[in-house]
């Protein structure tokens, strides 16, 4: 870089100048970059400190007189003791239950949870028999979460992987900023669902509120019912045979398959008219332009 003179820089194109000055040169391709994992490489999927649990070893934990922190600490203790199936009794709307579990576990929450339930998880299979509050499954990386009743707003915010399923209806801003994985909703969803969605798939069997998919970058939303309105840069796309097969497989897997099949689903994707990226930071622009 030091060998480049001012005179030479003036003769270069913008792209050549950026390269010569050692700045970022990667170009966004407009295509989602899914990372293909090697299924045989087990070390990719487990953390070295993850306890070795036995799914057939089951225990119940009455959470009635425990704080959320105490419940979450106790879950970790039980996992270290080898329990692979843990049932939480009497959660009664407590917040942050089952957060940050980073290994395999069957967690059954017998009742309803409050805010931020099972957030930041990476691996467990969770079943919640009641309702969940705001931000359930926020930032989950992998695993499955199945909720039998309704869910609050920001359901699956910034989810990166796994399947997050609500058999009932969910609140507003479902899948806001989601970056991967699948969100399945058996009922309706509220306004601004899929806001700033970046990757992944969301399926809503019922109706969707206003501004669906507002400012979405990428990813796909499927809606079985009415859409109140689409958000900025969210557009309807053709439902392909691949979409039908995927929808059929996912909805059947979780017992949410509508009687009339999947042909009536509307597919929403990003129009990509808001993609105004370049590869320069504002400070870099000042130097170059």
């Amino acid at each position: 870089m030091a060998s480049v003179t001012d005179e030479e820089l003036k003769q270069m194109t913008q792209e050549e100048r950026v390269t010569a000055l050692g700045m970022r040169t990667e170009q966004l391709t407009g295509k989602s970059l899914y990372i293909e994992f090697d299924p045989g490489a087990e070390e990719r999927f487990t953390y070295p400190w993850a306890p070795d649990v036995d799914f057939n070893k089951r225990t119940e934990l009455d959470t009635d007189d425990l704080t959320s922190t105490e419940v979450n600490s106790r879950i970790r203790e039980l996992m270290r003791e080898g329990y692979g199936t843990i049932v939480l009794k009497n959660p009664r709307g407590k917040h942050s239950l089952g957060v940050g579990i980073l290994s395999r576990l069957n967690l059954i929450i017998d009742g309803s949870t409050g805010y931020f339930g099972v957030g930041l998880i990476d691996g467990p299979n969770v079943r919640i028999t009641g309702r969940v509050g705001w931000s359930c499954g926020e930032n989950m990386m992998s695993g499955t979460v199945v909720i039998e009743k309704n869910a609050g707003s920001t359901f699956g915010a910034a989810i990166r992987g796994g399947d997050l399923v609500c058999r009932g209806s969910v609140g507003s801003r479902t899948g806001i900023d989601m970056k991967g994985g699948t969100i399945l909703v058996g009922g309706d969803t509220g306004a601004l669902s899929g806001f700033m969605m970046q990757r992944g798939r969301m399926v809503v069997c019922g109706n969707a509120g206003k501004n669906l998919g507002d400012s979405m970058y990428d990813g796909t939303i499927y809606v079985g019912g009415e859409i109140q309105s689409l958000g900025v840069d969210a557009v309807e796309a053709e439902l392909t045979e691949l979409d039908r097969k995927w929808l059929t497989r996912k909805l059947t897997q979780y017992g949410l398959m509508p009687d009339k099949g999947v042909d009536h689903f509307t597919k929403i994707v990003a129009g990509k008219q808001l993609w105004n990226y370049d590869n320069l930071e504002p400070t870099e622009k000042k130097l170059i332009l």
Binding site: G93, Y115, R131, S153, S169, G190, A191, L192, G209
Partner: protein, 311 residues
């Protein structure tokens, strides 16, 4: 952040004092600064309950002289009631600075309330046949014990746990707000009103008074204005979603109704439980579970949703 809660029993009376305390105590983490209740007891024909306060936290900074100040203010209120030939059926000083009057033989409640509030430092917290509005610093258990609310029998109530953000930690900025001078109407709010000053000036031009700089008070004044102009509670709630900017979920209670409204973004939480004889709502489910520990079905109302229930 703030927490709001409300409940209404259909066609029956219950211990709403202890129920509201349990709900609000469960919401303490959303607002530990002050707690307020608007609970509705059994209305008696021609009988009015007036709750007022005669001092604020700032008055206590005066030291020992505050006791004389409080006594003088109470004497002035009694004098005004005498001037208006009001029959004082009972008078109770719940705390040194908070009083509860039971009154009858009042020609014009609005005019009387205005006259009483001309006294410096005196604020009427509520006026009505059934409404009793209590608010003070501390959590729900503290306020409930201080004001003997644990055995309060009634049909419905709303409450609030406050985390002070836009105005001071004092009683005048605490919720609920009485919709002065409209009898038996109270409001609690969670959120932030962004066109507060524009709307406040509009309401002041129409002759309404504001006692604090808390944006939530606007909702009470706004509701009172609409009701005074013959607009129903449901219509007022719907109108507010179009006319008031910001993020808000608020509850309004009248003598026999409880209503809720959620803004266009649905940015502030509310969880609802409905059954044939009880409707309960709160910012978080944990508050509803405080009075209904068994497994129940609840849901989040959507954006621009307005509901009104009858006692």
């Amino acid at each position: 952040m703030c927490g709001i809660a409300g409940l209404i029993h259909k066609g029956k009376r219950a211990n709403v004092g202890s129920e509201m305390t349990a709900m609000l105590q469960a919401l303490k983490h959303r607002g530990p600064d002050s707690t307020g209740y608007a609970v509705y007891g059994e209305p008696k024909e021609g009988e009015y309950i007036m709750r007022l306060k005669v001092a604020e936290a700032e008055d206590r900074a005066r030291g020992h002289s505050v006791h004389k100040l409080i006594a003088d203010r109470i004497a002035t209120v009694d004098e005004i009631l005498g001037e208006h030939d009001v029959n004082v059926k009972s008078k109770e000083a719940v705390t040194e600075y908070a009083l509860r009057y039971v009154l009858s033989d009042i020609d014009n409640t609005g005019a009387l309330a205005e006259r009483i509030e001309e006294t410096e430092g005196v604020e009427i917290l509520s006026f009505g046949n059934g409404l009793e509005l209590i608010k003070d610093l501390g959590d729900a258990t503290v306020v409930s014990n201080q004001y003997n609310l644990n055995d309060f029998q009634g049909t419905h109530g709303i409450g609030h746990t406050r985390m002070a953000t836009e105005s001071d930690v004092d009683i005048k900025s605490a919720h609920p707000y009485w919709a002065f001078p409209y009898n038996d109407v109270s409001v609690v709010h969670n959120g932030q009103i962004t066109n507060y000053w524009i709307m406040r000036r509009e309401m002041e031009r129409k002759g309404h008074r504001f006692m604090s700089n808390c944006d939530s008070e606007l909702l009470a004044v706004y509701t009172a204005h609409n009701l005074a102009n013959g607009i129903s509670l449901e219509e007022s709630l719907k109108k507010s979603i179009q006319e008031i900017d910001g993020v808000f979920t608020y509850l309004v209670a009248t003598k026999d109704q409880l209503g809720m409204a959620k803004d266009t973004m649905a940015a502030k939480p509310l969880v609802l439980y409905e059954s044939d004889d009880l409707i309960a709502m709160a910012s978080e489910e944990v508050a509803i579970r405080a009075i209904l520990p068994e497994e129940i079905d609840t849901y989040d109302p959507y954006d621009e949703e307005v509901r009104v229930w009858q006692a």
